[in-house]
């Protein structure tokens, strides 16, 4: 294989896959798909937060010209499914139905209309008359936790996850004890593409075909096929081009609805959500309350840590118990801890459903834990970076919860390089100087965090590749990939091209289509580059072994005497004796009577950590309470950046979302009525190009031994340390001890008022 200095593709900048199609508007996203006779679905939302449907009259809607079907709980199956199930052996809450008589949040679908156009379906929805019998509500977590709270589900409102205990937190002793509480608000993922699904019942074959911009085509397939009691082989899920996910397209939400209509009407049915529907009726990022307690020695060494988390699942538990549990699992990744306790609860409320968000709990844990440690540093008068340097793990230390090493993970390098590049000490002094101004105050803050690169050892993490050499020497790579738009298809192609030493333009690598792809769990847990990349790499290597054997037979020489370079095998001492991959294919097919292909199943035996540190400076306007990030720096131990520029783009994305979490993004729900108060982009504050601060990125590229070309993950960790660093910077600027997010102007003004 080529040496690193000779890499043609790894670490080189190439335009993203489908760039031409995207920049010319030719790429078809799910919502862009049109077909003759295509039907359109619209859903009718409830107007109450909790209650039963007493009466639902669909007669007028049914009589609207162009309406093909109207669905309610009365004429659809009672079968329960779970949006979060990605494999049929998973133990999940199973609380959802296509349509329910029991309505559990305001805006929940009560009916669906399928018509020849979206306008007609929408119009007919308005003609459906619903009478409700209202029940008492539990809108806030506090309400839902009360002993006499209304039961939103028969199982009750609370799901307690298994505790994590390592060492003995209660028994451990240190000179300092600290306690903090962090509150995190709800945000919307705000993918530019809203949720969409298309389902076609193919009359000629009896198959159901679903197009979905999803993260788990096989997860959708098993959920749908089990729901309809169909053989998995008769349900085909094709991953559509995805206009962003950040976790919100990880779950099966619209597909059961379009699938039901498609099967019932033997038709082609599309459902595309509006922004309002996406905010209220898909999922939001959890609001959470997390308490952290620590026992810390006077030299700053952490003796013990106890974390207690309460997550609002919204009206259905779905993935929240698993998410809450996973959060605890993140505690073993960053700091060296001798004593650890974690407990968590997932609580149902009469509010829109919360679900998967980029980093699956790392964000929440980092906000609470880093807030805590920043406050501890302030109280103990230790520099926050010094406090981290005393406690972060060294390379290859064990993750005490997962019981696997964290890999070649460089926390200290992230901290030190970041501190130097950000000129931490100098800025600290400058802030003090600048804070002599009456109105504007400046502060700096930092946070450190990590994430994973696979879900080993949580479960067997397997990725499969099948690679087929074509008759002209080009290559078709089959790997169950779901590109979120962040360049993972390009990364796979680069890996294949580098190993095969061939022109990347000769490689075709499509995304998942369950009818032709090998099985894959789905592209989440930041596993794509590490796991699928390894499958592609090893499969290419295996293919080259096969090709070498064919070449040696064709050239009639010992395969050990063959050199492979730039797609050609030649004899070491006689370079004129050569055969290229086209020749290999031809010889293999025509003489040996075989095709040239290989398959490979990669099993991850590690989930390397991806240390990240974020450093930020803020300006707080004490008159208005507005906080502005002036400048920031993200340092990421990425192993090896296969697509460096796209990875940098993702860092920017993480900073943008982190700023949103810390300062402005907040989906407020009315605490009495359950109405979602912010349901479109008119009143949702988000960081646009004008507000986006200047930021810098440093990648530490010390290869991960078993990563493909040394690579680890990047896509989720980018958001993780950003918000706590900003909260710390605000506290530094104001001398406050704020821990909640977002720090909206009203929160800042209130804190200043209290201070005065």
């Amino acid at each position: 294989m080529r040496k690193e200095k000779d890499y043609q593709y790894i670490g080189k900048e190439l335009s993203n896959d489908m760039s031409y199609g995207k920049v010319t508007g030719n790429v078809k996203y799910c919502g862009d798909m049109q077909s003759i006779g295509m039907l359109h679905m619209k859903l009718k939302p409830s107007t109450i937060a909790h209650g039963y449907i007493k009466n639902i009259d669909i007669s007028e809607a049914e009589s609207v010209e162009g309406v093909k079907a109207v669905y309610t709980y009365l004429n659809t199956p009672d079968t329960e499914f779970d949006r979060g199930r990605v494999a049929n052996y998973e133990n999940v809450p199973y609380q959802e139905k296509l349509f329910n008589r029991h309505i559990r949040f305001m805006g929940e679908r009560v009916a669906g209309v399928v018509a020849v156009s979206e306008e007609i379906a929408d119009y007919a929805c308005q003609k459906i008359k619903v009478e409700y019998e209202e029940l008492p509500t539990a809108i806030t977590v506090e309400d839902a936790l009360k002993v006499d709270a209304v039961k939103i589900h028969k199982e009750g409102n609370i799901c307690v996850v298994p505790e994590i205990n390592y060492g003995d937190y209660d028994g451990c002793v240190a000179e300092n004890y600290h306690k903090s509480k962090t509150h995190m608000g709800r945000i919307t993922h705000l993918t530019m593409e809203t949720h969409a699904s298309r389902a076609l019942f193919e009359k000629s074959t009896g198959k159901l075909i679903i197009w979905s911009p999803c993260q788990t085509a096989f997860g959708i397939r098993s959920t749908i096929a089990d729901f309809f009691n169909m053989p998995y082989s008769k349900v085909r899920v094709i991953k559509a081009v995805m206009g962003g996910s950040f976790g919100c397209k990880q779950e099966t939400i619209l597909e059961p609805l379009t699938a039901y209509a498609a099967i019932h009407l033997k038709a082609d049915v599309k459902l595309v959500f509006t922004r309002e529907e996406q905010i209220i009726n898909t999922m939001l990022k959890h609001n959470a309350d997390i308490t952290v307690e620590s026992k810390i020695h006077k030299d700053g060494i952490i003796e013990g840590l106890s974390v207690s988390a309460v997550l609002d699942s919204g009206a259905y538990q779905t993935i929240t118990p698993s998410y809450t549990s996973t959060m605890g699992g993140k505690l073993g990744k960053v700091y060296r801890l001798s004593n650890l306790h974690y407990d968590g609860k997932s609580v149902c409320t009469n509010t829109p459903i919360n679900g998967s968000f980029r980093s699956w709990g790392s964000c929440e844990i980092a906000l609470a834990l880093e807030n805590h440690l920043n406050l501890v540093a302030e109280e103990m008068k230790i520099d926050p970076i010094e406090l981290r340097l005393k406690n972060v793990k060294n390379e290859y230390e064990m993750d005490i919860i997962k019981k696997v090493p964290i890999g070649n993970a460089h926390f200290k390098k992230c901290l030190i390089q970041g501190r130097d590049a950000f000129e931490w000490e100098k800025r600290k002094k400058e802030c003090e100087e600048k804070n002599k101004s009456v109105r504007y105050r400046y502060g700096i803050g930092m946070a450190v965090s990590s994430h994973t690169s696979s879900f080993y050892p949580y479960m067997v993490d397997m990725a499969n590749a099948a690679i087929h050499l074509q008759e002209d020497g080009s290559l078709i790579v089959n790997v169950g990939i779901h590109d979120h738009g962040c360049g993972t298809v390009l990364a796979m192609k680069k890996i294949a091209a580098e190993v095969m030493e061939m022109d990347i333009e000769l490689i075709e690598l499509g995304e998942v289509d369950t009818e032709v792809s090998l099985y894959d769990y789905g592209c989440y847990a930041s596993r794509t580059v590490y796991c699928l990349g390894n499958a592609v790499k090893h499969c290419c290597e295996k293919l080259l072994v096969k090709a070498r054997t064919v070449a040696s037979i064709a050239l009639q020489c010992n395969d050990r005497h063959l050199i492979y370079e730039d797609g050609v095998f030649y004899k070491e001492n006689n370079p004129k004796l050569r055969i290229d991959l086209k020749g290999v294919s031809k010889y293999c097919i025509t003489v040996m009577g075989e095709d040239v292909y290989e398959t490979y199943s990669y099993n991850a035996s590690e989930g390397p950590g991806v240390p990240a540190a974020h450093f930020t400076e803020v300006e707080v306007d004490t008159f208005t309470g507005m906080v502005r990030v002036v400048d920031c720096l993200s340092v990421h131990d990425i192993g090896k950046a296969i697509n460096p520029e796209i990875c940098r783009g993702q860092v920017g994305s993480g900073i943008q979302q982190g700023i949103g979490i810390a300062l402005c993004e907040d989906i407020k729900i009315h605490p009495k009525t359950g109405k979602t108060l912010i349901d479109n982009l008119k009143n949702y504050e988000v960081t646009n190009a004008f507000d986006m601060p200047d930021y810098k990125t440093i990648f530490i590229e010390e290869e991960e031994e078993n990563g493909p070309f040394g690579a680890k993950s990047i896509g989720e960790v980018v958001v993780v340390p950003v918000a706590p660093a900003i909260v710390a910077a605000v506290n530094h600027a104001l001398g406050t001890k704020l821990t909640e997010a977002p720090l909206t102007p009203s929160v800042i003004l209130e804190a200043l008022y209290e201070e005065n």
């Binding site: 031409y20 919502g31 962040c486």
Partner: protein, 157 residues
């Protein structure tokens, strides 16, 4: 209403209800699905098209406003198989990830360069502040627009 306008360089004469939302007309009637719907309230910029050299939100515009005008959608930028300078720069500078904001972003940039061929960094930021991108921190997008302006000006001089 009978409507006369120019679409991506071609004369159009179409009978269409004047109050139809321009975005729906473009996507559903003209089948030009490169223009995207992101929020329907003129806040995200995904539906941006160029009408009479100005960037407009097609979700906030009715078809009647096209009369006698010149409409350019993302599909109209590539000429004789050659991409517009902005499109080339977006590809070159890795400004494309999920791509859903790309059409609107490119159209906004195109309109900016129509009116201001030498935009400053501040003017670029301002121009695209109504176009949201969630996959990036806007850095690559801003650099692409700068690069396109530079290249267009170089070609002209």
């Amino acid at each position: 209403m009978k409507l006369n306008f120019i679409l991506n360089g071609e004369n159009m004469n179409i009978d269409v209800p004047g109050e139809r939302r321009l975005l729906d007309f473009i996507r559903e009637d003209l089948h030009l699905t490169g223009t995207k719907e992101g929020c329907s309230v003129g806040e995200c910029g995904a539906c941006t098209v160029i009408l009479n050299n100005k960037a407009i939100h097609s979700c906030m515009t009715v078809v009647g406003q096209l009369e006698g005008g010149e409409l350019i959608t993302i599909e109209g930028l590539e000429k004789n198989g050659e991409l517009d300078a902005i499109q080339k720069s977006f590809i070159k500078k890795s400004a494309i990830q999920c791509g859903f904001c790309t059409s609107g972003m490119v159209m906004t940039a195109k309109a900016l360069l129509f009116s201001n061929p030498h935009p400053t960094d501040e003017e670029i930021k301002k121009a695209i502040s109504g176009n949201l991108c969630r996959c990036s921190g806007y850095k690559e997008i801003k650099e692409s627009i700068k690069d396109a302006a530079y290249n267009s000006n170089k070609e002209e001089s």
